[in-house]
């Protein structure tokens, strides 16, 4: 059921939002990108994590779609930034056409390119003629998602997250979060080919 964006006085932080997701994570594949990859790594390692660093910016949703299609019995969560989402908006249409029931997209919307120094995106109020931000949840609905949620404070997100992730997708979640000051790049998570092989092995059915 679609949720309106909460209108709390206090917007959640990226770290708070990720901690909430981390607390309910079971055996889902979790793909993280850019700023959320930086903070997710600090919460611990998991064989079903794909820290998508180095990335082709914007392709996290597409990569996650591929995993979800190949592994229909396993839940896949992709944590995306708003800047990354803007680079691959068409992927929302691609995903809704495939309609993978096991895929959840979480967009952390802070309005800026955080890792490059917090310059505003084209969707942020600072660069909009009417100062009205682009509504990512509405974009998802218009792209064919029927299960869409949006939160800007941590408690409603905490209360809903388990049902959101475990329910039937495809699901889109917009989390409005505060940008982090001087946040910088994600730590190097290790050689990408080794991590790709490790994830592939972790996803291989037992023989």
């Amino acid at each position: 059921m679609p949720h309106p964006i909460a209108t709390s006085a206090e917007r959640m932080t990226l770290v708070e939002a990720l901690e909430v997701l981390h607390a309910v994570r079971r055996d889902e594949v979790v793909v993280t990108t850019m700023g959320n990859a930086r903070e997710w790594q600090k919460l611990g390692k998991n064989a079903l994590d794909l820290i998508y660093v180095p990335s082709s910016m914007g392709q996290g949703t597409s990569l996650a779609l591929g995993i979800a299609l190949a592994q229909p019995d396993r839940k896949v969560v992709v944590c995306n930034g708003d800047g990354s989402m803007l680079m691959n908006l068409g992927s929302l249409v691609t995903i809704s056409a495939q309609a993978p029931a096991n895929l959840t997209i979480v967009v952390f919307d802070n309005g800026v390119y955080e890792v490059t120094g917090a310059q505003p995106t084209a969707a942020a109020p600072a660069l909009r003629p009417n100062s009205a931000p682009v509504d990512f949840a509405a974009l998802a609905r218009a792209s064919g998602f029927t299960r869409v949620f949006a939160f800007d404070s941590v408690e409603p997100w905490r209360n809903a997250v388990a049902e959101i992730v475990r329910g039937p997708g495809p699901t889109f979640v917009q989390l409005q979060v505060e940008p982090m000051a001087d946040a910088g790049l994600p730590a190097f998570p290790g050689p990408a080919p080794d991590r790709a092989l490790a994830l592939r092995a972790a996803l291989k059915p037992a023989e």
Binding site: S56, Q59, G60, S62, L63, G66, L69, Q71, G90, T94
Partner: protein, 162 residues
């Protein structure tokens, strides 16, 4: 040069599970046969750059995808294929339509004809030009060679006349 049925049989011989594709006027007519067959599954993308990451994810999940696009889509795919093929070393195979190779009647002096092979070479993608029907078996052979070696490969399908 090929029918949809021939391409479907080719993919089945290769053991392909998913065809991640965007059509052109040569590739497009193959799709209905593939879609109606149900296997391999056809995954439609909105732009070609998506195709490499989706196929990369499919590979990580244990599937055996191919990317099927026109060479103009290869041009716009640069960063996505760089990341999947070289950062993550995922050995994807692609069928790429070579626009105007056989005839430039429709698009005289087609720049797609000029840049396709240099770009494949620049990316270090091991390709085979399939410019006559008799070369069809080379597609499977090349696919198997590339998969055995764990490297990306491409069958470059000449286009431009019926």
């Amino acid at each position: 040069m090929f029918t949809g049925r021939e391409i479907l049989e080719l993919y089945r011989e290769m053991g392909v599970t998913h065809v991640v594709a965007l059509p052109d006027s040569t590739i497009g007519p193959w799709e209905s046969t593939i879609r109606e067959a149900g296997s391999p599954k056809l995954v439609r993308v909105c732009r070609e750059g998506e195709a490499w990451a989706i196929a990369g994810g499919l590979y990580l999940g244990g599937a055996r995808p191919v990317v099927m696009i026109q060479c103009t889509g290869l041009f716009e795919s640069g960063d996505a294929l760089r990341n999947v093929l070289f950062d993550y070393r995922i050995p994807l195979f692609s069928l790429i339509g070579y626009r105007s190779y056989l005839s430039q009647t429709a698009i005289p002096n087609d720049s797609a004809r000029t840049f396709t092979e240099p770009i494949l070479k620049a990316w270090g993608i091991d390709y085979r030009l399939i410019d006559v029907p008799d070369k069809k078996p080379e597609i499977v052979e090349h696919y198997r060679r590339c998969q055995s070696a764990g490297r990306p490969g491409c069958a470059l399908i000449a286009e431009g006349k019926g």
